[in-house]
């Protein structure tokens, strides 16, 4: 079997992306290029979890908590959000 590297299986913030509070709004700001993104409740929870470099299943498990029956729903919503953040250069896949 060939050696498999599996380099990127965990999610992490891109260096230079910080959280800003503006009134009641939570914003992600990319200090490298000035890009901003307003966080909703789910976004705030996901951002807090990214410090631990979670895998996607771990992140979904953390979001759904005891609401196991909604895990699929959480996975889809979180997946959409992460994809948008990735395309905006706010997060990256890491090892």
């Amino acid at each position: 079997m060939p050696q498999v590297r599996f380099a990127a299986t965990r999610l992490a913030p891109v260096q230079g992306v910080v959280l800003e509070l503006k009134g009641s709004q939570h914003l992600l700001v990319n200090t490298n290029n000035g890009a901003r993104c307003v966080l909703n409740a789910m976004g705030r929870r996901i951002w807090a979890m990214l410090a631990g470099r979670p895998t996607f299943p771990a992140l979904v498990g953390g979001l759904s908590g005891s609401h196991d029956q909604k895990r699929g729903e959480f996975a889809r919503d979180a997946g959409r959000l992460l994809l948008a953040w990735q395309e905006a250069g706010l997060i990256t896949w890491t090892s």
Partner: protein
């Protein structure tokens, strides 16, 4: 005939996939994860098949997230060998509740799972939870069997199959479990089947009857009998006791031996009427 997209790297495996699916679906092979995502998003395929690593040897975890986000109803079939590194990779990919299924390459028929996927009939999988809970509790020599049992117990496959798919003889497997002070393989397997039934009922909202049909468990009282025998409680009692979380705790105490559990489960060592192994 429906079409499935497949990211499978070597020609021999492509050939095996094409042969196994010749009466199930047309197969369009792609050469990159990006191409598979595009195919899924464009909507021309009823399911996608992928190995655990992409064309550059990277985990397909990011691709699965992208498919989950952009094509949420598309079933994903993971098709690869299952060894210890692959178990770690699976834990980085599989999310309970999503329509994702793992098929063991070279040993397990692919057609059955793909047919189910195309019919929208892949039930949510409890396997990632069982792997996360039980694999770390087992010695290394049992990791692959525990993962195979977690992934395949719901399918009703025999213990002989699962031992073979784990790469060990059934007798060797039994010896390793005894040495680790675990219950016999048939008890582990049936306890996982019971957990799968509890998961489907308490978390996914399926009725006992539906679970029986989905898992081909037999007569009308088979689900209750399975739960009572391997988790010690009837379905309603389990719900009152805390549902799936409580069932996981009970199962852990039941299959990982200690004196009390050995006594409690002495009777389980005998062949069970619902034991397919």
């Amino acid at each position: 005939m429906p079409t499935v997209g497949a990211l499978v790297r070597d020609f021999a495996t492509q050939d095996a996939v094409a042969r196994q699916l010749s009466r199930v679906a047309d197969v369009r092979f792609v050469d990159s994860a990006a191409a598979l995502v595009q195919m899924g998003v464009d909507g021309g395929v009823g399911a996608v098949i992928t190995e655990l690593s992409d064309e550059a040897g990277r985990s397909v975890a990011p691709m699965v997230v992208e498919l989950t986000a952009r094509a949420p109803s598309l079933p994903i079939v993971l098709y690869d060998v299952l060894n210890r590194p692959a178990i770690d990779r699976l834990q980085e990919i599989l999310v309970p509740g999503l329509r994702t299924e793992f098929v063991l390459r070279d040993v397990e028929p692919l057609g059955t799972t793909v047919r189910q996927a195309l019919a929208g009939a892949l039930p949510p999988t409890v396997a990632p939870i069982l792997i996360e809970r039980f694999v770390p509790l087992a010695p290394l020599s049992l990791h692959v069997f525990i993962a195979v049992a977690a992934l395949k117990a719901p399918s009703g496959r025999s213990l002989e199959h699962l031992a073979q798919w784990s790469g060990v003889a059934r007798r060797t497997l039994a010896r390793r479990l005894v040495a680790a002070n675990w219950q016999p393989p048939s008890v582990v397997l049936q306890t996982f089947r019971a957990l799968d039934a509890v998961w489907l009922m308490t978390v996914c909202g399926r009725s006992a009857r539906r679970v029986r049909e989905l898992r081909d468990l037999g007569g009308p009282s088979s689900v209750g009998r399975l739960l009572r025998r391997y988790l010690g409680l009837a379905p309603l009692e389990l719900r009152d006791a805390g549902g799936f979380a409580a069932a996981l705790d009970i199962a852990q105490h039941a299959i990982i031996g200690n004196d009390a559990n050995s006594r409690r489960h002495h009777s389980l060592r005998e062949a069970s009427r619902v034991d397919h192994g």
